[in-house]
């Protein structure tokens, strides 16, 4: 239990630090009692902390590498302590949200999130992880911890080739790790729980805002909790830029809906929140801005009060969006984006239908149309507008453009809203309270069953020693060794893309691109491995060059892991493809150990580390055998 306390605090701090900072800033700028608005505090605090990190890292850039982390930590600790003091000293002035109003939502989110975590983590013990994207984000965080930060992620590390977001997300991730000294993967294990909690809370509050009903909130929250979009989208269980942007967007949507009645919109807070969401993920941010702008415009307009106008819009708009985007994609060759990675994220309608079936069973096909039809009986204008916007977002999701599925990270909240509304309207019309309770419980059991079947299917290929994981303890241990021994030196590690990706994140040692090793480097590596025992092997490996940190390394390391040998068995086209990864750990087999022993016989390779999963060799390039400096 003691091992969990620091990770839990640090996970919570990812949200708490910006909130405390934001409130302190608001109090500083605005005197008197303020209306509690946690989303606004988070947004403004996030921007302030990001600005502070950019400034700090620029200022301390002239300092020696070894002292930068200490300065960063000291200044952040002072700053956050001040923010905390301001908050504590004004605590009595805080106008809290009514407990009666928030308690059902919070308790529901707590109960459901714990149930989800029990199911999700039951074969994924602490601190093993099931979020492949974590490694690239942690790689960036490692750079930030060393005092290197830039607004553009691809200017920091060549693991990033496409700048779909600023480094705001990473800066916020780094702050608890810097100030609290928590083990990074323990932090990730914890912070993802709080993200899950917030996605469920957001769904509950969205439904409740629209209907004023806790039952509607509960049913929507149940759906949100137990639907895991296990490919591309990952809304509830993975904390990545798109999912953070989406959950902030939903809270922003709730904020807007709450102001519909008085028609006075707090434009400055909305703008600040929008900027934060945009910096978290440009595409989702843009989609949020467009959606909320449309929502406000349509609500103000009288057009939506005319059923015919609404009906025609409901049919024509989504179809037009779908057709336009699909045509545009072909015309602009969008599948060439991101060095061709976009082609891997272009799915046919059939494939999308398969995904929907995996995430929902048949629930989506049944409950969404039913919910949409039944919700038309509700008098609230906002419901019809939201339904229209849901249809448009779903049209985008279904359109034939690369990455279109990512828009479902936002669309899922609206989809679940209408699924929940449909169930609510059926259950609330029951006469007997007992039947309502039993029906709600039945819905929870059904979605839980779908969730378990989804998890079992998705986790199957990720089995390692009976656990489902992308990362195991041997790799963390290897990372720690590398960090302690080699971080201070200009070290370059080479391996298959997946091993590079994992070790760069666990150790902070540079690789060429991690899992996004570029095509040239892959070709060099594949060619070199055709003659691993030859004199030129080591020399050829040094032709692999980092594209951002161009200084020649002092030390070269070659990691030979179970993953590496698994990758070696793949077809050449897979080895050269960005889309092929060895997603789970492997231990070394007899043949692998034989290869390693034979490689060590050549004097260029000296073993520096070994465990059951991998062996790390230091090597010297150059033509003279036996020369070169080993640590």
């Amino acid at each position: 239990m003691n091992n969990l306390i620091l990770p839990i605090i640090s996970g919570l701090s990812f949200y708490l630090f910006p909130i405390l900072t934001g409130r302190a800033v608001v109090l500083f700028l605005k005197k008197g009692r303020e209306r509690a608005n946690i989303l606004y505090y988070f947004a403004i605090g996030g921007l302030v902390l990001y600005g502070l990190m950019l400034l700090l890292t620029a200022v301390i850039s002239a300092l020696p590498l070894t002292t930068k982390p200490d300065y960063l930590r000291a200044i952040l600790v002072v700053f956050l302590s001040l923010a905390s003091l301001v908050n504590l000293s004004t605590f009595k002035d805080l106008k809290v949200i009514s407990l009666k109003r928030i308690a059902p939502a919070v308790l529901t989110a707590l109960f459901l999130s714990l149930a989800v975590v029990y199911l999700w983590r039951r074969d994924n013990p602490f601190p093993q992880l099931l979020n492949w994207d974590i490694f690239e984000h942690q790689t960036l965080v490692n750079y930030i911890k060393r005092g290197q930060l830039h607004f553009i992620s691809s200017r920091i590390s060549d693991t990033f080739q496409f700048d779909g977001y600023s480094t705001l997300f990473h800066a916020l991730l780094s702050i608890p790790q810097i100030t609290l000294g928590v083990e990074p993967f323990a932090f990730w294990w914890s912070v993802e729980y709080f993200h899950l909690f917030l996605t469920i809370l957001a769904s509950f509050l969205l439904a409740k805002t629209v209907t004023r009903s806790n039952l509607a909130g509960l049913l929507t929250a149940i759906i949100s909790a137990f639907v895991f979009e296990s490919y591309v989208i990952y809304s509830s269980l993975f904390l990545i830029p798109q999912t953070l942007a989406a959950v902030l967007s939903v809270f922003m949507l709730i904020y807007v809906l709450e102001h519909f009645k008085d028609k006075k919109y707090p434009w400055i807070p909305l703008a600040i929140i929008a900027v934060t969401i945009f910096l978290s993920h440009y595409i989702i941010g843009l989609a949020t801005i467009l959606t909320l702008s449309a929502l406000i415009f349509l609500y103000q307009s009288l057009l939506m009060e005319k059923r015919l106008v609404w009906g025609l819009s409901f049919i024509i708009l989504p179809l037009t969006v779908f057709a336009l985007l699909t045509a545009l994609s072909g015309f602009l060759h969008l599948d060439q984006l991101n060095s061709g990675e976009a082609a891997l994220f272009s799915y046919t309608l059939t494939k999308k239908a398969e995904f929907a079936q995996l995430f929902y069973g048949y629930a989506l096909y049944i409950l969404l149309p039913v919910g949409a039809l039944l919700s038309l009986h509700l008098k609230e204008k906002a419901v019809r507008i939201l339904l229209l916007l849901t249809a448009v977002i779903l049209a985008v999701v279904l359109a034939g453009i690369p990455y279109s599925l990512k828009f479902y990270v936002l669309g899922r909240y609206l989809t679940h809203l209408f699924m929940g509304l449909g169930l609510w309207m059926v259950i609330k019309s029951m006469s007997f309270r007992l039947m309502k309770v039993l029906s709600t419980s039945f819905i929870a059991v059904i979605f839980m069953a779908v969730f378990i079947l989804n998890l079992a299917y998705w986790k199957n290929p990720l089995r390692y020693q009976g656990h489902a994981t992308n990362l195991e303890s041997m790799e963390i241990a290897a990372g720690r060794f590398l960090q302690e021994k080699f971080e201070a030196s200009n070290t370059f590690l080479i391996s298959d893309p997946s091993t590079q990706y994992v070790l760069e994140a666990t150790s902070g040692i540079n690789t060429q691109g991690g899992a996004y090793m570029n095509l040239d480097s892959r070709k060099i590596f594949v060619e070199a491995l055709e003659h691993p025992y030859g004199d030129q092997f080591a020399q050829k490996l040094t032709q692999i060059k980092d594209t951002v940190n161009v200084t020649s390394p002092n030390i070269y390391l070659l990691a030979l892991s179970g993953r590496f040998f698994e990758w070696q068995e793949a077809k050449e086209e897979d080895k050269l493809s960005l889309g092929f990864n060895v997603w789970k750990p492997y231990d070394l087999a007899l043949n692998d150990l034989i290869f390693i022993e034979n490689l060590k016989k050549t004097s260029r390779f000296k073993e520096v580390y070994r465990n059951e999963s991998l062996v790390i060799l230091q090597f010297t390039p150059g033509n003279n055998l036996g020369f070169g400096k080993f640590l």
Partner: protein, 275 residues
């Protein structure tokens, strides 16, 4: 009047509940499921599929399958009969026919490791394969039920097909598989285990001692087959089968049972140290 109103209420309630039930059940039925019920066993995954009970890791490298196709019975006159004869009728063998609901429940139960994989082959008589796991020990129990002429059966054999590059050796260091000298030499170098090749002339040797080690050079983990005192173990080199044979001293009327015990170890070093 009041009764009528109540009746209408109940009918409406029943209709709503029925609608919810239909929607709910239909939702779950649409969920795709994994190909088989599985359970973890070290680096291996224990599965139940139409092929039988399998221990898999990194297919196609390792796949140790228990099924009825190679298992056999030996009659009183010494005749050896396959449980499922290799003829056209083998296609009539039914395996593990479960209704969808049972399958869904099995998949859910297997997620919680409370559904040990099992399989049943049916061809008039039934051949049931059940598993029970405890720690690193796996018991695969095969029962033949309602076999005609069961009273005439004097021995029964269960078989496992091993892979072409497996090293199969006994605790006395006798290697029964036909691996290259370099592989045998490398095993000695890496693990300090020196093996002596069994003569190729004997194509179905009986294994000395109660243990048989299975090592595949391409994957991690080691399996050790532990035979019971009344069992004899053979390595059938021509068909790449490990045959565990048990004498039946008291012929059964209806049920013929044979147990296979397998241990798992992460490394060969651990496996060799096991007492």
């Amino acid at each position: 009047m009041q009764l009528l109103t109540l009746g209408k209420k109940i009918l409406k309630e029943a209709l709503l509940v029925a609608a919810l039930l239909v929607m709910g059940v239909a939702s779950v039925l649409g969920s795709p499921t994994s190909k088989s019920v599985t359970e973890k066993f070290g680096h291996f995954v224990l599965t139940s599929s139409s092929l039988g009970i399998g221990l898999h890791q990194n297919e196609p490298y390792t796949s140790y399958v228990f099924n009825a196709y190679n298992d056999y019975l030996i009659l009183a006159d010494g005749t050896r009969l396959a449980l499922v004869p290799f003829d056209d009728t083998r296609f009539n063998v039914k395996t593990a026919p479960n209704p969808v609901s049972e399958k869904l429940l099995s998949y859910i139960a297997s997620y919680f490791d409370i559904a040990p994989p099992s399989n049943q082959f049916s061809k008039g008589y039934q051949m049931l394969y059940e598993t029970a796991k405890e720690g690193n020990s796996l018991l695969v129990r095969r029962k033949v039920i309602n076999y005609p002429n069961a009273a005439n059966v004097r021995a029964t054999g269960a078989t496992i097909l091993y892979s072409r590059d497996d090293l199969v050796f006994a605790s006395d260091g006798t290697l029964y598989t036909e691996n290259s000298d370099s592989v045998v030499g490398n095993l000695a170098k890496i693990y300090g285990v020196k093996l002596v090749k069994h003569t190729q002339l004997v194509r179905r040797p009986q294994v000395n001692g109660g243990r048989l080690y299975l090592v595949n050079p391409r994957v991690a983990g080691v399996l050790v087959m532990m035979s019971e005192p009344n069992q004899r173990v053979f390595v059938n080199k021509d068909y790449r089968l490990i045959e565990v044979e048990a004498q039946i001293n008291q012929p059964a009327e209806t049920e013929i049972t044979l147990n296979n015990k397998i241990l798992y170890f992460d490394t060969l070093t651990e496996a060799m140290k096991y007492e």
